[in-house]
């Protein structure tokens, strides 16, 4: 079965991906920051106390007050206040070759912002070095509009003049490039002014895990792979659980004794589902049921097919329909569904205890 990937000492593991294309509304303060990024500018936010926060924060960490809207253009270059070197970048990170993470205090800002620095080699990184943003050609209003930072061409440690020279557009390769960049950014800015401000950003997430079923579930699924349904009996209350979890939640003790159960059972309650669900692959509408297998004391969740929906009822006798023998595997999908069988209904009074 494709769901199962591996087995260690009898315990089954399978991949699990947590993934969602989160879309976030950003509010007015971050919205302005991202709109400026799209235009190729970086802005900070001046608090009432005169401190320029970069990136802008909606609320002042020191006073708790809302920070207002006194935006001020900062950078584009700045100083590295501390850094670390990533030896083996992860796929989601800004660069696919070794790079530095750095806190960068942009010119005009009082706080530092985190981003990547493409220095090429660990030996090129220094606290106090000057860096400038490498803008993406196509920007959308996102922190990724800055692909990363890079060392300024004439970067030397604590060269206080470097920044001034650049802003003044003085002679020198770095100055010309910066001027040219600002001009291009300016042209783009005029075109962007016609666009609407940024109100939302996309921040997709994908995290991969290797999920382990644990001992009890693995034993159960191995049984399923052999066409058997194995429950476990609690040594304290003697109730039989299926699927077993290796413990009785009522008694808070481990369960070990295996009990083979019939694949016949009784519907204790049900619902007719008419709305799609990501986790179920059955055509709508379908009957979602609680089935109490003969010999078990706890119903398990499943679906019923091969039965008109208006005939589904509490007390109805059903039996599991398995996949063909050669397709059996250690997964609950080996049981396709339950179907009605020709046996008298179980009376309501007997069902009360086990909804």
């Amino acid at each position: 079965m494709s769901e199962i990937v591996s087995e260690e000492g009898g315990i089954l593991t399978a991949p699990h991906v947590l993934e969602y294309p989160y879309r976030r509304s950003v509010g007015p303060v971050l919205g302005r920051f991202f709109t400026e990024l799209r235009a190729g500018r970086i802005v900070g936010l001046r608090t009432q106390q005169g401190r320029v926060l970069a990136p802008p924060q909606e609320y002042d960490p020191e006073t708790g007050a809302a920070t207002g809207s006194d935006f001020v253009e900062i950078g584009p270059g700045g100083v590295v206040t501390t850094w670390s070197w990533v030896v083996r970048p992860r796929a989601k990170q800004p660069l696919d070759r070794p790079f530095a993470w750095a806190l960068v205090k942009l010119d005009g800002a009082d706080t530092a912002m985190l981003h990547a620095v493409d220095a090429g080699d660990l030996s090129r990184m220094r606290t106090g070095m000057r860096v400038r943003p490498r803008w993406r050609a196509e920007r959308v209003g996102h922190i990724h509009d800055i692909e990363c930072f890079e060392p300024e061409p004439q970067a030397t440690a604590d060269n206080g003049l470097g920044g001034e020279r650049q802003r003044a557009g003085a002679a020198g390769d770095g100055g010309q490039r910066a001027r040219g960049e600002r001009q291009r950014a300016g042209e783009l800015a005029m075109a962007e002014e016609a666009q609407k401000p940024v109100t939302n950003i996309k921040t997709p997430m994908r995290l991969e895990y290797r999920y382990s079923a644990g001992i009890a579930t693995s034993r159960f699924l191995h049984g399923i792979a052999q066409g058997k349904i194995l429950g476990q009996r609690c040594p304290s209350c003697s109730k039989v659980y299926v699927p077993p979890r290796g413990s009785c939640p009522r008694c808070a003790v481990a369960t070990e004794e295996e009990v083979e159960l019939s694949d016949k059972g009784t519907i204790t309650t049900y619902a007719i589902v008419r709305v799609p669900s990501e986790s179920i692959d059955v055509p709508l509408p379908f009957a979602s049921v609680h089935v109490l297998l003969d010999g078990a004391d706890l119903p398990m969740f499943s679906v019923v097919q091969e039965c008109p929906l208006d005939q589904i009822r509490m007390g109805m006798r059903v039996q599991a329909v398995w996949v063909p023998r050669e397709q059996l595997g250690p997964t609950l999908q080996s049981i396709r569904y339950f179907k009605p069988i020709d046996e008298p209904d179980v009376p309501a009074e007997k069902l009360q205890e086990t909804v």
């Binding site: 969602y20 976030r24 909606e58 609320y59 079923a213 109730k239 619902a271 979602s288 004391d297 509490m314």
Partner: protein, 385 residues
């Protein structure tokens, strides 16, 4: 030992399907600043903050209190984040109250929220785990069979759920914060709405909302003179039971019954139906109203549906339930429990505006979560206990 705790400030956001105008921080801030204003306080007055919300997957931010510390003025202050599934809004209020009751803090801000439009509620609730059975179709799919079992046992008329939904949605028209406010909602529109998980119809089910609710809880001596006198916490209680075990009563859960008995005992209430003036309870699917009426001891087992039928739970009934419109009208999952607790407090403060129950002096706030296994409740009053 336990000191008195006052509900001195209450704030709610406008609930809607998607609050596109704010960041997550902005959403909480809206509720929190309203609560502070209501309490006559400002950020520096708050000594500790307790945040509550449901699973982090809703917003895709792990442990969001870390990111929210600045938005809630927490630098240098203690901050906690509670998560007890659907009952979390209530549990969060209870944890915040205990900080005051223990004499540790004078003024505590507590905020519960969900900005679930950042993802999708049904996805987040039922993230598919490999190697496990996954045949439960969302929360509705889980509860619908329990509703059917209740209908079977009680013999309640089929349209009981429709009547509850109609009442709650009409009440919501009197609550400016509510998400669903449709003046055209009628018995027929509800009855003819699509059946989602039979027997639960679309308009008998809660919406998915963005929103936040905040409370300022204070000691007796920290209460300030404001427009409304505070609500006083008379009792709090929490009870939990396992998700599923053999022989478990799931329609009328023991943990709910025990929690109610405990909170009544602590509040000195011997006849809840008579002594409690109104209740805000967690009803995400309309049939839970009659079920909870029985679970809370307001009606004998099998007769909760009669309270709905007789109009007892209407705004002008003898036990008004969910005058705010309830979870059926607004459901930011992490906040819903606290909204119930807040609305109960608003009632005894005379602060509920158009949906005020005249003369309400003792009110119950109730929240539940998980597979009907986590319950949190509080009793609040106009007078000190």
């Amino acid at each position: 030992m336990a000191r008195l705790c006052a509900v001195a400030g209450i704030g709610q956001t406008q609930y809607s399907a998607r609050r596109d105008d704010v960041s997550i921080a902005g959403l909480l801030r809206e509720a929190a600043t309203r609560a502070l204003e209501d309490a006559g306080m400002d950020w520096p007055d708050i000594e500790a903050v307790v945040v509550g919300k449901a699973p982090d997957m809703f917003e895709g931010v792990m442990m969001p209190e870390l990111y929210l510390a600045d938005a809630l003025g927490c630098s240098g202050k203690p901050m906690l984040r509670v998560h007890t599934a659907g009952s979390v809004g209530g549990s969060t209020a209870i944890v915040a109250a205990s900080l005051v009751q223990a004499g540790i803090h004078e003024r505590v801000l507590t905020v519960s929220f969900e900005k679930q439009s950042e993802s999708n509620a049904m996805w987040a609730l039922t993230v598919k785990t490999p190697l496990q059975a996954s045949v439960v179709a969302g929360a509705g799919g889980y509860f619908a069979p329990l509703v059917r079992a209740y209908m079977n046992r009680s013999g309640a008329p089929d349209d009981t759920g429709i009547r509850v939904a109609l009442k709650d949605r009409r009440n919501a028209l009197k609550n400016p914060y509510a998400h669903l406010r449709d003046p055209n909602m009628s018995f027929d529109t509800i009855a003819s709405s699509p059946m989602l998980w039979d027997p639960i119809r679309l308009h008998e089910a809660c919406p998915s909302s963005d929103g936040a609710c905040a409370l300022v809880l204070t000691s007796e001596r920290s209460v300030r003179k404001t427009k409304y006198a505070p609500a006083w916490i008379h009792a709090t209680s929490m009870r939990s039971e396992p998700t599923q075990f053999a022989g478990q009563e799931k329609v009328n859960p023991q943990s709910g019954r025990d929690c109610a008995k405990d909170v009544y005992k602590k509040a000195g209430i011997s006849d809840p139906r008579k002594q409690i003036d109104m209740a805000e309870i967690y009803v995400p699917f309309s049939w839970f109203e009659p079920m909870w009426m029985e679970n809370l001891g307001f009606a004998p087992v099998g007769e909760g549906w009669k309270m709905t039928y007789e109009g007892a739970t209407a705004l002008d009934g003898d036990m008004p339930v969910n005058c705010s419109g309830g979870v059926l009208s607004s459901n930011p999952i992490g906040a819903s429990g606290m909204i119930r607790f807040a609305e109960a407090a608003m009632q005894v403060r005379g602060q509920a505006g158009e949906h005020q129950v005249d003369g309400a002096r003792i009110a119950l706030g109730h929240a539940y979560g998980g597979g009907s296994q986590f319950f949190s409740m509080w009793i609040v009053g106009s007078a000190k206990p």
